[in-house]
């Protein structure tokens, strides 16, 4: 497997990468020298004013809250469903085609329709996030459950575990590494779905701030928001990885594909 030598350089590498990218941006902006492409420094300077502005801050926090609710609900439903699909051929055959059909539908695209039905409140946005996160979590739970070694379950049965107990006490922990990979993808998706749905249904939230700034020609703010959203993504992902490491420290190192869906 691909292992990382934890030298000081490799630890700092992501930080260096960030700085490098910002540097390229700065140089590119100075080169192009147009109003519509502010330099990295200009954008960074605009950040405190956004975070300092009470209304914007409330908006951003509200976005995060919606994300958290949608994510939690999705995980609570998707993991049991995925596990059952993984262990029962009948259940899998029942849900698979339905999931495959809904997979390519961008959940954020359902916003206008859902807004038509549920109005413009919290529920609509949470629902969309719920739908978006469910899919990867179901899929990974399914794969994880399927891959559980038969002999492990037999060992459990010989020890006297009932079918339900085997599901909770063997299948679930055994599939946990894969499930958490699904959750990680789900987390990224939650952020994306949230931003996108806010861009489409412009009421409040980070996506709305972005486009308002665009409409009003406040280009510094636009790019500052991009950095903020980017930082949210990176921050959430890093925090999740830490958590994941703690929860499944017993597992063989897995290759993670941080997949980005919209």
């Amino acid at each position: 497997m691909i292992t990382e030598r934890t030298t000081i350089v490799s630890r700092l590498a992501p930080l260096l990468a960030c700085l490098g990218l910002l540097g390229i941006w700065q140089i590119g902006a100075l080169f192009l020298n147009t109003d519509s492409f502010p330099s990295a420094l200009d954008a960074i300077r605009a950040i405190p004013s956004i975070l300092g502005d009470k209304e914007s801050l409330i908006n951003i926090l509200a976005s995060l809250r919606r994300m958290a609710v949608g994510f939690s609900l999705a995980v609570a439903v998707a993991i049991p469903l995925g596990l059952m699909m993984g262990r029962s051929r009948a259940v899998a055959s029942f849900f698979n085609p339905l999931l495959m059909v809904t997979y390519p539908v961008p959940k954020a695209a359902l916003m206008p329709i859902i807004m038509l039905w549920l109005g413009v409140g919290e529920l609509a946005k949470i629902l969309v996030i719920f739908l978006g996160v469910s899919l990867p979590v179901i899929y990974h739970s399914f794969q994880g459950a399927k891959a559980v070694e038969e002999k492990m379950l037999w060992s459990g049965a010989a020890m006297g575990l009932s079918a339900a107990q085997r599901m909770i006490r063997i299948v679930l922990p055994a599939a946990l590494p894969e499930i958490l990979t699904g959750c990680r993808t789900g987390l990224v998706l939650a952020l994306i779905t949230m931003i996108t749905s806010e861009m489409i249904a412009r009421q409040s939230g980070a996506g709305n701030i972005l486009f308002n700034a665009l409409d009003m020609g406040q280009y510094d703010t636009v790019f500052a928001m991009i950095i903020i959203v980017g930082a949210m993504g990176i921050g959430l992902d890093a925090a999740f990885e830490k958590l994941r490491g703690r929860l499944v420290k017993w597992s063989e190192p897995q290759f993670d594909m941080p997949l980005s869906f919209s």
């Binding site: 539908v105 594909m257 869906f261 919209s262």
Partner: protein, 255 residues
């Protein structure tokens, strides 16, 4: 799977979709929801069929498809190239890995306003966004596939006289194809999704734009049509890719 099990699987699979459509029909016909909010499936599918034969609609589909393919192709070329390079060259690896790790969890759609500023509201911004989003899974899958190539395969080729510089194309790339195709599949779905969303956010043409335009004028039926169209497109393209995969991977052991 033998024929018996396969047919049971298919039948079992159609049930939920059929149920969903039946439920849809039931809600509509029993009047639980006004037609303006939830048109009956019959109406929607009829309109879909009608639109598919309509020249204007076809042009919209063409616009969406064009952006989709352009972005996807760029993502494939860049993704495979960078992925392979990073897998075989430690120096490139050292540079690429941290950049990918940093950028992967960033929602690329947040860059969309910036792209609009730089590239305008036409095809360019959408193609770039599609490419940016589809790039990562393809790159990662290529990298993964290329680094997992069994050392013994490479040694066999070298013993047979293959010079070092050809190993990449004659051994590593072919051996990585299954993984690359998996990444492409994910990238394709992402491309469908992203192009649709980008068109919804700002556009003057394309399927996404049609949905938003219909929403503004409360034409519910016309809202469902582009949504179902993009789903169908996604399914068809996915099927084509699977076919390509089966063809390309004829000789490989069952993965």
């Amino acid at each position: 799977m033998n024929a018996r099990a396969l047919t049971t699987d298919i039948l079992l699979g159609i049930v939920p979709i059929a149920l969903l459509i039946a439920l849809w029909q039931a809600i509509a016909s029993f009047g639980y929801a006004p037609v303006s909010l939830l048109p009956p499936p019959g109406l929607v599918f009829a309109r879909l069929a009608e639109q598919l034969l309509n020249g204007t609609f076809q042009r919209e589909i063409a616009a969406t498809l064009f952006r989709l393919f352009a972005g996807f192709s760029i993502a494939v070329v860049l993704g495979v190239a960078i992925g392979l390079a990073a897998a075989v060259n430690p120096a490139i690896n050292a540079v690429v890995r941290p950049i990918v790790r940093v950028l992967a969890p960033v929602p690329k759609v947040a860059l969309y306003p910036a792209l609009l500023l730089l590239l305008g509201f036409g095809h360019g911004s959408k193609i770039t966004l599609v490419a940016a989003d589809a790039l990562f899974p393809i790159l990662l899958a290529t990298y993964y596939g290329a680094s997992m190539v069994e050392q013994k395969l490479i040694w066999s080729a070298m013993a047979a006289g293959t010079p070092r510089r050809q190993i990449l194309f004659k051994v590593v790339l072919p051996a990585a194809v299954p993984s690359i195709l998996t990444g492409c599949r994910i990238g394709l779905v992402i491309s469908c999704i992203v192009v649709f969303l980008a068109e919804m956010i700002t556009s003057t043409e394309g399927l996404g734009h049609l949905l938003v335009a219909a929403a503004r004028t409360f034409q519910t039926v016309d809202m469902f049509v582009p949504l179902i169209t993009i789903s169908l497109l996604g399914l068809i393209l996915n099927g084509l890719l699977q076919g390509l995969r089966t063809y390309l991977l004829r000789g490989f052991p069952e993965v």
